[in-house]
Subunit: 270 residues, 2 copies
Amino acid sequence: MRDAAPQGTYKVQALDRAFAVLDLLGESETPLGLAQVAASLQLHKSTAHRFLMVLERHRMVERTANGKFRLGLRLFDFGNRAIEQYDLRDRAQPHLRRLVAETEETAHLALLEAARVIYIDKIEPTRAVRMITRIGASNPVHCTSVGKAMLAFLPPERAAEILRRIRYERLTTRTIATPEALRAELDKTRRRGYAVDDEELEEGLRCIAVPVLDAQRLPVAAVSVSGPSFRVTAQKLPSIANYLLQCVRGISVDMGYTPAGRATRTALSA
Amino acid sequence: MRDAAPQGTYKVQALDRAFAVLDLLGESETPLGLAQVAASLQLHKSTAHRFLMVLERHRMVERTANGKFRLGLRLFDFGNRAIEQYDLRDRAQPHLRRLVAETEETAHLALLEAARVIYIDKIEPTRAVRMITRIGASNPVHCTSVGKAMLAFLPPERAAEILRRIRYERLTTRTIATPEALRAELDKTRRRGYAVDDEELEEGLRCIAVPVLDAQRLPVAAVSVSGPSFRVTAQKLPSIANYLLQCVRGISVDMGYTPAGRATRTALSA
DNA sequence: TCTAGCTTCTCAAATGATGGGACGCGCGTC
DNA sequence: GACGCGCGTCCCATCATTTGAGAAGCTAGA
């Protein structure tokens, strides 16, 4: 059919459709009725209906009192199983909490997937303005501090592979928009030991990040501190970076990554 | 086919199979190879392969370095969207944290879905033995304190409907195993204002829970405190219950549920 | 180099999904 | 009160879609 099927070569129509339904419900602020789902996805009512019933049986969607559909809690279950393996998250939490206490700004923990970063945890300072990000959400690598932090310390080949896949979308006037600029930025990041996002993702938002290194000294994640530019000033960056470094060092230890003896400074100290 | 299709009347084979794949990967401790997946689900290699490729395209599964499959982070994204609507979770966290500090035992926040309870958050006291439950996991209502707490304060018709769906599986020697016993237990719960699970879910584990009530005074969730029976003794229950009541009152207020004036005691105080 | 075990790919067959359309319900309008 | 409308549910003949046998590749170990 005239489906907007992602270019991938393998296809199972039913699955693409089912996930389109989930996507739609996930995007929507409010639960949707059968008719709306069918219309949005250009499916016939009966088809959409069948899908929704099956999805409901699997608890991937659920119905509200008035019969509309929204995402089901089964997804929550799956989602938690999915990150379980990365028990990084649990172990990192106390460290992130301390980081937030120290900096009074929001901290994120992120993973790298393809050319995007995925936030797997977020801690906010008490009574802060709520930040935009949602746990589970993702952003392009090239305009986030966490992305740059991981990229900068990845082995050249793996970094190159990811760089190739970046589609330099411009999100603010400061977003890095060329491979050359990004390469230069990564050099800078390596030299100073931490990555900065200076309103490149969102106007008025400044972030700073460092990678979490495993026993092989490879980045497995990154931790960032983000806040409004007027609070996270250029002068404060080094001091925040220090807290960050302490934080990730703590995480690495907790994960059982041997601090690699004296080599801890190799990549990370200014 | 001779599929073990859940009895539901609507069927989309491809979806059932896809979810079976996700289930399998979710259950498995370690990533699985194509052959293992195909064998476990009695699918042909080529079929399993196609499914996995499509699931991978949707990032519902991902491949490890050695080519094996595991759940993908897209599920994590969906999962978080799914509970987003219940922002209860975020708001409840600080209160749960305080509760844990006060009781020094594990706290859970749970929702009711069909005849099961689903844990949507868990806070553990520092340096406690890690508990069994995983966020996102579920248990039958009849053998959990959170389940009984919600059930007890639900309007009779809705409670009855749920009661009808319970299949009294016996998990320990003390598990409530008949509708009558459960009904009696719910009465008791209502009278004392909190629910107790006395090793009914797991030997050696005692839990106590109270419901979180919305503006209509209906349970929308429940909070529990759980710990080893030798620490969570019968004598301590009333005092823990007190902390619990304070906790859920705080949550209700934070959620914007008007404490319903003087009526706060209607259901909840001993 | 050969074998074993795994993944990837192709294509004809037929099963299983599709969607046109009928039905029934509830609601607001005339 | 009758009518029209939008919505969800259900049925079933048709055919597009998925299926799976099998061949071809790949890798590692003997």
